[in-house]
């Protein structure tokens, strides 16, 4: 366990509130994520998990409270910079289907950061080697399996050298036999010291990798605990109820 008190938190939510129309989807959410900390967020569908992590890089506007990334408040002016330092992996991969794997991974470095093509490609190929997808570089997303696509999506985010990675149910759209390759990639990433916020239902992954597990229900954080405490001695009845249903 890390002690967040001494350094600036990587990501911090302070009393965040959000509404979709009249639906109050985030209610007074506060959470501090330390540098290099791995957080797994779980909860029933519609509990606001995805919405919460999408607030970190400004994909969702919120109406109350503050989100801080690396100590700075998230203002409209800071959003572009935050997006370049926070990587995100989506449930539905969202690879750009008109571009090859290599082009997918160099698009943002070249056009967003202004890195020259040669350097961006070299950087991407390094990442491919580490994630064991080097042979896919010139294929199009449509030619890849779901697991391969999601690993490419992770590589695409890593090519921007992010300080924080957000995972929005990265394995939910995968066939069962492909889940493990993606989880292995994420485990490797955790071992490299990445700060990670993962929305996932993979409880095995949570046990092995997470520093803390967050349980959300009805737009609020109900319980936060280290994995062994969370799984062995859940305190809130809703948490117990949820765990009983998914385990």
């Amino acid at each position: 366990m890390t002690s967040p008190a001494t350094t600036t938190p990587a990501v911090e939510f302070l009393g965040v509130n959000k509404w979709f129309g009249t639906a109050h989807v985030l209610r007074d959410v506060s959470l501090a994520v330390a540098q290099s900390e791995k957080i797994v967020i779980c909860g029933p569908s519609g509990s606001g998990k995805s919405t919460l992590i999408r607030c970190v890089n400004g994909l969702e506007p919120y109406q109350g409270g503050t989100v801080r990334v690396d100590g700075h408040d998230l203002t409209p002016a800071r959003i572009p910079a935050v997006r370049r330092s926070v990587g995100m992996v989506f449930q539905s991969f969202n690879l750009f289907s008109h571009l090859t794997v290599l082009e997918n991974c160099t698009l943002a470095p070249i056009h967003g950061r202004g890195i020259d093509r040669r350097a961006a490609e070299a950087r991407a190929r390094d990442e491919f080697a580490r994630l064991a997808i080097a042979d896919l570089a010139d294929r199009y997303p449509g030619q890849l399996s779901g697991g391969q696509q999601q690993r490419v999506a992770i590589a695409r985010a890593l090519c921007l050298d992010p300080a924080v990675m957000l995972f929005d149910e990265p394995t939910s759209a995968l066939d069962p036999e492909m889940v493990q390759e993606v989880l292995d990639t994420m485990t490797d990433l955790a071992a490299r010291g990445m700060t990670m916020l993962c929305v996932t239902h993979e409880m095995g992954f949570a046990r092995r990798v997470a520093d803390r597990v967050v349980f959300m229900d009805e737009g609020q954080i109900v319980e936060v605990a280290p994995p062994e405490a969370f799984f062995e001695r859940p305190e809130h009845p809703r948490t117990r109820d949820f765990l009983a249903r998914i385990l």
Partner: protein
């Protein structure tokens, strides 16, 4: 004992298809009494209808002659079908209108360039399509204008637009329509999706206005009102007026086609681009638009077909397009014979059918290919 098989069976070839041609006939033509009746009725209808058509177009047709006399039954000595000799005699007029004979290599070169540019744009795997687009949409129109109407720089004698006619005008009008409406349509489609209310409503208003009125009224308007709206004594060429009308009209339809394409791109694509730190403009330009423009190729081709058919309406406001020169040609007293109108219309039908059908087949082919790509992705 739970194991049923120790070794797995190898796949076996399917049994030979039963039936053959007889089976096909039974299944497709005589599967039930009602079906059989339908078949017989249709066959009877075809037997009644097809022979006269073939007699008209081929067997009884007159293929050569110098005037309408050759196509009169009393001269020919047999019932006369289509008078193809008439088309042969008038073909230059039908293709070029009154374009000077000595300068006809210029429209010919123009047709060649158009074919080249079209092939470049429509062949999705062609090399350097970006460069092709710049040439077709920017350099092409300028070059074509110089080529057809003359230019002192290139040493080409001027040819007034009033002399242009026939298929040449039909092609020019269609091309101006597509070349102007595609960029304008993309701009309007983006504007319609903009977050800025003023821009959005301006684009919606523009699109819905042109889509709500018939093209004829647009052409009338361009004819009488365009000169009014321009300052001072500025006049507009008679050919340019309907071109402006058609370009505006077509851009509204093109905008809706492009909008359909933009809507077909999953929201996640734009979000992923934003999450990577690209700006909204970059996300649109680098990620969404390239995919959307590929999806809309069939829609664009279908709009082009509509445009090509709609160009016939310029004949109503006095432009010598293919239909108008055809009507003029068939009014030639030297070529007055009973079957001249039918011949003229048959020829026009074959011309439009050939062009439009080819384009429609191409659009369907692209659509199938895109659908196959979609399946391959998941």
């Amino acid at each position: 004992m739970t194991v049923i098989r120790e070794t797995l069976l190898p796949p076996a070839p399917p049994p030979r298809r039963t039936g053959g041609p007889a089976g096909w006939l039974r299944k497709n033509l005589f599967s039930s009494p009602g079906n059989t009746l339908t078949t017989l009725v249709i066959l009877a209808g075809l037997a009644l209808l097809l022979p006269p058509v073939i007699r008209f177009l081929v067997t009884d047709a007159v293929w050569s002659g110098n005037s309408g006399e050759a196509c009169r039954p009393e001269v020919a000595g047999h019932p006369v079908g289509a008078c193809w000799a008439f088309i042969g005699a008038k073909i230059n007029y039908l293709v070029y209108g009154s374009y000077p004979a000595a300068e006809r290599w210029r429209p010919n070169l123009f047709f060649g360039l158009v074919a080249l540019g079209t092939a470049w744009m429509l062949w999705l795997d062609a090399p350097r399509r970006g460069l092709g687009a710049v040439l077709v949409f920017v350099a092409g129109p300028v070059l074509a204008y110089w080529l057809l109407s003359g230019s002192s720089v290139l040493g080409l004698a001027p040819v007034a637009t009033s002399l242009w006619g026939g298929m040449l005008v039909t092609v020019v009008v269609s091309l101006v329509g597509i070349v102007a409406s595609l960029p304008l349509g993309i701009f309007l489609a983006l504007g319609r999706r903009s977050d800025l209310p003023v821009l959005r409503y301006a684009c919606i208003g523009f699109i819905e206005f042109w889509r709500g009125v018939p093209l004829i009224t647009v052409l009338f308007m361009a004819n009488v009102m365009l000169p009014l709206f321009l300052p001072g004594d500025l006049t507009v060429d008679r050919l340019v007026r309907p071109l402006v009308g058609i370009a505006l009209f077509a851009s509204a339809y093109m905008a809706e086609v492009v909008r359909g394409g933009l809507q077909a791109i999953p929201e996640g694509q734009g979000q992923a681009a934003l999450a990577l730190g690209l700006t909204k403009g970059q996300a649109m330009r680098l990620v969404i638009l390239p995919q959307a423009l590929k999806v809309v190729v069939p829609g664009i081709v279908n709009t082009l077909i509509g445009l090509f058919k709609d160009t016939t309406l310029v004949s109503i406001v006095g432009i010598a397009d293919f239909i108008r020169v055809l009507e003029a040609a068939r009014a030639d007293p030297r070529w007055s014979a009973p079957t001249i109108p039918a011949t003229a219309y048959a020829f026009a039908a074959l011309f439009y059918l050939a062009v439009c059908f080819a384009m429609a087949r191409y659009a369907a082919f692209i659509e199938r290919r895109l659908a196959a790509g979609e399946r391959g992705r998941s």
